[in-house]
Symmetry: C2
Subunit: 457 residues, 2 copies
């Protein structure tokens, strides 16, 4: 018995020793990953090039096709094992000329609005449209007004995002639905157009665009976004003159679909090349911005993970793969093409970076409780880098379709406070990127990829 | 026995109930604090006024005296129980005319350097000085060169801050000593001036100033800071032409000391008015910037705590007090005056906000292990606001002198990644402030003040 006890203690100590040694080795490797990321400027320069030369790269646009060639060349220059393009058909919606929004009122004065069409919107008539405006805060108010008071008018949905919510994605989530479905709701009551207060807690002067959807059951009416400052002003002018007129002119068009591509690059695994750890961001961005945080950052970060593995001489056991997705903003056609092609292949994890290049907190994890616990067991290795967040939650729309294939999904979670100041607006430009924050996001994903490669899920 | 067990269980449940109820009440109060902070813009507007009208408010300057009046008026307008000024004598060092730094070399060309005098530096001769330059990375290299190679020359200390360090304060800590003591070390070997690479990981074009100290044992020589980009260039030019000349001209002067003030405001406690929870930031800033993050942010945040307590109708049991400190940057004379006057008064906690207005992580705590544990027991109440950091560590130089009076000290710890991009340079301006990040810092301190007021330490 004594011997058994001693032997048990010995075993315990022994396994503790192994654990400590492994933790130390992991800790050193993760330190090398962070040091490499923080001292290298490749991803920052990649982002400068991408945003400088290929801004406004909405799926279907000429800019997006040039950006595909750019991304392919960046990956080809890295000396990876394989780089290839994966075809996907994408919509080609085009904004046309810059939109006009003009308040016309004897009592409230004439004023230009800072306004833009929402993604996928139909145009106004060539000469524009002029109509009175009804302001509502939500669909309940719209319903109360009913067809009688809405018919023939422009519905102005003025629902401010709630600044009191700590996580800005929650504030955004509370209002983005008005952008996406507002035109359908307004058209149901006979509205001739819908303008939505921009989906941001920020008080600024530029419209924030984004996708909106039509339904087959009602008329397709022009759908636009107005800057938050101008939404406040319009609301005041409507109090002065409820009968003011608003002139709107947009010339958007839906052109024939075209062929575009995801861009994929990988380093093959030394032990399990058939098993894949995938990570990526999306190359497309809205046509009114550079797409620096959304999602140029995610693209250059996930590309840079492959550079880091080479730079610190980590030879992954499993294949590690970057996917530069096409068309996140409109219809996720790239994501669907990738998920379709992935059937029958084994992905042991997929990670998405699409919440801006800010100081990382950790990951939102869409996986089993056991897998979440496994990741949480690595917390002590990551806390020295401010990474404290490893919780069950959604990942991202580009990897979401892999869920039906039982792939554990991860979304990089950065600090969210500034994201919606920039999101889908001209303010999402390269000068809003802090190099250290960007690099830390890269290192954070690289560290997770390393741990998954070492210990699985 | 059965009864006893049941009764014990009952007691346990009961105390658990009380704990849960208290936690819920605290959780709701903290939510109200954060909601109020995130929806109110007072502190942001205060900071816009302070930085817009009273930039360059170095202790002793005319601007600093105007800023004192501004802060006094802000506090007086808040309807506090007491507002008063606390006298302190401060140095009056003046930069004089903008500095000149010029490389003169046939081989390397003539180039202006982006350069400024360090705080407290003596001037060059009126006509400036011209000398050859020796570049060193550290004091070991300086020692190796010795008097023979240093005498009569300008010592250029070119020690880059280490970007690989995650916490930028660690990177800064690794190089700031060269700024503070470099002139003494250089003068010891006969140097005629010292120029230091700016103490930042950032690669930028503006010099970052800061205090430097002389010793009585060696000559006082002009001490300057050069931008990191120009430090890199100067280093390259010195490789091309080791004999190049550098012309330096500064006209700083040390004027007679003047009287200045801390500004203090408080809400008296309802149960223990004689016991004080103090918090503050420093009003003075370097004379080449607006001092938005350092430390206008800390000033408006800690002032705003009193507004929040009134706004959400919290009546503190203990007196809560804001101290707007004078002269953190040079000699901490305000801090010393406050600590001296505090003797015999009971401070149950002191909190300093002086690391920039960025997304808060939590607090660095200079207190007993038991007190740190008590604060950590509140973690679950604060984690919903991204506050995960409650660790033993230094607080801040303005409250540090209260340590000898056994006061538990707290330093607000925000994300540090961007701080040294701005620190002590013209880049520390109001446009670098994000309103939400600023407000979250305020709410974080207010929540801690509330918990200390409720439960003590």
């Amino acid at each position: 018995m004594k011997k058994l006890i001693l032997s048990s203690i010995f075993c315990l100590l022994c396994s503790a020793c192994i654990t400590v040694t492994a933790q130390n080795a992991d800790s050193l490797t993760i330190k090398r990953i962070f040091s490499d990321a923080l001292t290298d400027t490749t991803s920052y320069h990649n982002l400068r090039n991408l945003t400088g030369h290929y801004s406004a790269r909405l799926a279907g646009s000429a800019q997006s096709l040039k950006a595909v060639k750019w991304a392919e060349q960046v990956l080809k220059n890295m000396g990876l094992d394989t780089v290839w393009l994966q075809e996907c058909r994408v919509r080609h919606w085009d904004r046309g000329e810059k939109e006009t929004g003009k308040v016309i009122s004897v009592k409230a004065g004439n004023h230009n609005l800072s306004i833009c069409a929402l993604g996928g919107s139909v145009p106004t008539a060539v000469k524009g449209l002029t109509a009175k405006v009804v302001e509502v805060k939500d669909y309940d108010e719209l319903k109360k007004l009913g067809r009688e008071k809405v018919n023939g008018k422009i519905v102005f949905i003025n629902h401010p995002a709630d600044p009191a919510l700590y996580i800005t994605f929650a504030a955004y989530g509370g209002v983005a639905g008005y952008r996406v479905h507002g035109a359908v709701q307004a058209a149901y009551y006979g509205a001739v157009a819908m303008i939505d207060r921009s989906s941001t807690t920020s008080h600024d002067n530029f419209p924030h665009t984004g996708i909106q959807h039509y339904a087959d059951t009602v008329n397709k009416i022009p759908a636009l976004s107005v800057s938050t400052n101008d939404a406040d002003k319009l609301s005041r002018w409507l109090k002065t003159d409820p009968d003011l007129n608003l002139f709107l002119k947009t010339s958007c068009s839906e052109l024939p679909e075209i062929t575009s591509h995801n861009i994929i690059g990988e380093i093959r695994g030394t032990e399990h090349p058939e098993e894949i750890i995938a990570f990526g961001g999306h190359l497309d961005c809205w046509d009114i911005c550079q797409g620096a945080h959304d999602d140029g950052a995610g693209v250059v970060q996930t590309i840079d993970i492959l550079r880091i593995f080479k730079s610190v001489n980590l030879k992954p056991k499993h294949t590690i793969r970057v996917i530069v997705y096409m068309d996140e903003e409109m219809e996720q056609r790239g994501a669907k093409a990738y998920a379709e092609a992935a059937k029958g292949r084994k992905h042991i994890a997929a990670i998405e970076a699409d919440r801006g290049g800010f100081t990382p907190w950790g990951f939102s994890i869409d996986a089993s409780n056991e897998q979440v616990k496994k990741v949480q067991s690595w917390k002590n290795l990551l806390l020295p880098y401010g990474l404290f967040y490893f919780e069950k939650g959604g990942s991202g729309v580009d990897i979401h379709d892999l869920k039906s294939q039982d792939v554990p999904l991860f979304g990089l979670v950065p600090d969210s406070q500034r994201y919606f100041d920039y999101h889908h607006s001209v303010n999402d430009s390269f000068d809003k990127i802090n190099i250290r924050e960007l690099q830390l996001g890269t290192a954070t994903i690289a560290a997770l990829v390393y741990l998954i490669d070492q210990y699985g899920l």
